[in-house]
Amino acid sequence: MSTTPDRDEVTGIQTTGHDWDGITELDQPLPRWWLIIFYLTIIGSVLFWVWYPSWPVWMDGEWTFTRGLAGKTARDDVAAEMAQRAAAREADLARLEKADLGTIRRDPELLRLALANGASAFGDNCAPCHGSGAEGGPGFPNLNDDDWLWGGRLSDIEQTITHGIRWEADPETRLGAMPAHLRDGLLGRADVADVVQFVLSLSGRARDAEAAARGALVFEASCAACHGLDAKGQTFVGAPNLSDDIWLYGGREEDIFESVANGRAGVMPAWGGRLDAATIKSLTLYVHGLGGGVEEEPAAAGE
């Protein structure tokens, strides 16, 4: 790069003296208005310093900043916006609190609020056990399907969420557990094995038809009280339907043996004291709307 400025012979204008493989550059002056705009931006930046919070200052033993003549910071704007949203949310929750489940369900706007609120509350509170898609897992029911241990009507779901399952701190909690038939000596090992074959036979999977036939008698004596004579379960005691394709603790022979021998008693906390009524209603509608919700019987629907 040459540093000797030349004069360009065509234009007669001085070059910058820079030479890139024979290409040189005319040293043209900048337009004055450009310079003026540059100075205006400098003035503008000073105005910004004065108008908005800008400089850090040491004051009263701590670092703070100049407040600016605008009298507010971007943080104030955020805080105001958040407060505004919180207030709007409060109002929404109050509306949900006042309405009953049926009313909310019939009002598209309330339902939209409830479902949005329910989805977020589900993610915060329920997803750790039931999964983020409510798909459940071994011991934790899938809430999307049409199989309900304690009933899938809105009122059932609300009751379950409010008072929990086998949650001793709540007097109204849902009770009823699968006893440990073998461990507690209620049934002998052979009976347990037979009844397992019988349960398998309900879905056409019995290995040993004779054992299944013997197991039918055991079932009638020991299991039908809760699971029903047809083994279709009873929601008032939370006894699952054993004839369907859905197995909370697994449907293989060894899973069923484990359930019969050592019992099952999963626990769900009561959310009544922890979540407000509006959130519980929202969760109820959200879970009911996941695809498996059962309609209220006509008599109950009029409540």
Partner: protein
């Protein structure tokens, strides 16, 4: 480093060594005021016509009406930002169709390239808003203050009462034009008659006033004061031109072979042994960029062709043929010199390529617009869970249907799964009737949750090794019986799975 390579390369240096300088070069310079002289002629008339047409389009368009039926705006061209709609006569574009806008921009760019390859900076010279408004402002200036010489005199004169009122009147008219420019701009974004009333009543939204103010300010300063500075210093286009011109591009050029040697000419003197240019300076006086076209092609030249008219007037007066300054290609002087016939090559690989691209893009856009459906069906499959096993062993998948009803009337639809009568459909908001029906409000989007259950045998018969089977969701418009389909996947546990 560069010095070393320059020496090693032994590049010949242009120019002579700089003489010792008493003063360092100036770092900045004030704008040299330009007072273009009025000209008459072909190109001036074309420019007046282009100005009337382009300004007419700009100011009148928002006031054109176009009936789209009830519930839709009746403004022919409207960018409805709050409702995310763009209306252009019979075309209505939703945000997800912004590619039409992209196509329009691509078309505009290609058209610009083609025009530039053929005729140089015709866009700059005739139809660029900066040129048109500057031309209009110069016209106002001339109307109030007189032509070039009077304006120069007025500019040099002290601030007398005459200068104050003449300048004041000029600025006032400029300001009126600027306000009208800014005002017309906002009418493209809202119903023009309503907004016009609101603007006058002071009831328009702040954004409208801010836009009008911003446009007024830029029109006033760019058109009134910065003028050619915008083209020379701010606009990137002049820099790109170089890649668009070639030896066959028609550019406004001074025919040096005919004009030189130039010099003053007195009436009656012979024309032999000299050029036709009488060095009168008419071309320079007319130039809105303040350059001398006789210096050859220049960055500053917007090719407005006013120098052609200016020179033609002089040539007529001295009795020489017109078009000493004319549209001609870079190859023409050389051709004349060697005695060949200057050739006009409008069809060149470059122009053919641009034309073909324009045809392709406009063809694609026309096809897209003509086959545009007034309904869009998007199907989103639930990701979590992918599928749900039901008590009876059947598998259920969840979908969200997004139905975009682009028509301006309410429509009722029935949902079905194509070719799978055993599919059970259910929707939390629609119930689980045999036929799911729902309506979508005019000009809006509705999301509908849909659960599809298929029995195990159907799945086994159709699924692939990943457990997936293709299904097609069908929407039937109850009124018109038109059917809209969207293919999607149904997930189930794999054949190898439990």
């Amino acid at each position: 480093m560069a010095r070393g390579s320059a020496q090693a390369g032994g590049m010949p240096r242009r120019g002579s060594p700089a003489p010792p300088q008493p003063n360092p070069p100036k770092l900045y310079a004030p704008r040299r005021k330009i007072h273009p002289k009025r000209v008459n002629g072909t190109f001036r008339r074309i420019k007046w016509a282009v100005m009337v047409v382009t300004l007419g389009i700009y100011y009148v368009t928002p006031w054109l009406r176009w009936d789209r039926g009830p519930g839709a705006p009746d403004q022919a061209v409207l960018l409805d930002l709050p409702h995310r709609r763009f209306y252009f006569f019979f075309i209505e574009i939703w945000p997800q169709e912004v590619y039409y806008l992209t196509g329009l921009l691509i078309l505009a760019a290609l058209a610009l390239f083609l025009a530039t390859a053929l005729f140089g900076r015709v866009w700059c010279g005739y139809s660029c808003p900066q040129t048109v408004w500057t031309d209009l402002f110069i016209y106002v200036e001339r109307l109030v203050q007189g032509d070039r010489n009077k304006r120069i005199r007025l500019d040099r004169a002290p601030w007398t009462l005459e200068k104050i009122w003449k300048r004041g009147l000029t600025y006032a008219i400029w300001l009126l034009i600027s306000v009208a420019t800014g005002g017309a701009w906002v009418f493209y974004f809202a119903d023009a008659p309503t907004l016009a009333r609101a603007l006058v009543d002071g009831a328009a939204p702040p954004a409208a006033y801010i836009s009008v103010a911003a446009f007024t300010f830029t029109t006033f300063t760019l058109g009134g004061f910065l003028r050619e500075q915008v083209c020379t210093y701010m606009c990137p286009w002049p820099r790109i031109q170089g890649a668009m011109f070639d030896a066959d591009t028609f550019l406004v050029s001074y025919r040096a072979d005919r004009g030189e040697p130039r010099g003053p000419h007195k009436k009656g003197e012979p024309w032999e042994g000299r050029g036709d240019c009488i060095d009168c300076g008419a071309c320079v006086a007319a130039c809105p960029a303040g350059i001398d076209i006789r210096d050859g092609p220049q960055l500053e030249c917007i090719q407005c062709a006013l120098c052609i008219d200016a020179c033609d007037q002089i040539m007529d007066r001295v009795g020489r043929p017109r078009r000493l300054i004319a549209y001609e290609t870079l190859s023409m002087p050389a051709a004349r010199e060697s005695g060949e016939r200057p050739r006009v090559r409008l069809i060149r690989p470059r122009t053919v390529l641009y034309s073909v691209l324009i045809l392709i893009v406009s063809g694609l856009m026309a096809y897209g617009l003509l086959t545009r459906s007034d309904l869009d069906l998007n199907v989103l499959h639930d990701r979590n869970p992918l599928f749900v096993r039901l008590s009876d062993g059947s598998i259920r998948n969840g979908y969200t249907l997004k139905v975009l009803n682009k028509a301006h009337h309410l429509r009722r639809f029935e949902v079905a799964i194509a070719g799978l009568s055993e599919a059970r459909l259910k929707s939390p908001e629609l119930g689980d009737a045999a036929v799911l029906r729902f309506e979508v409000a005019p000009d809006s989007v509705r999301a509908v949750r849909l659960f599809v259950s298929l029995p195990r045998q159907t799945i086994r018969a159709r699924q692939d090794e990943d457990g997936e089977l293709p299904i097609t969701i069908e929407l039937r418009d109850v009124a018109s019986a038109a059917v809209y389909r969207e293919a999607t996947a149904f997930h189930a546990p794999g054949a190898s799975g439990r």
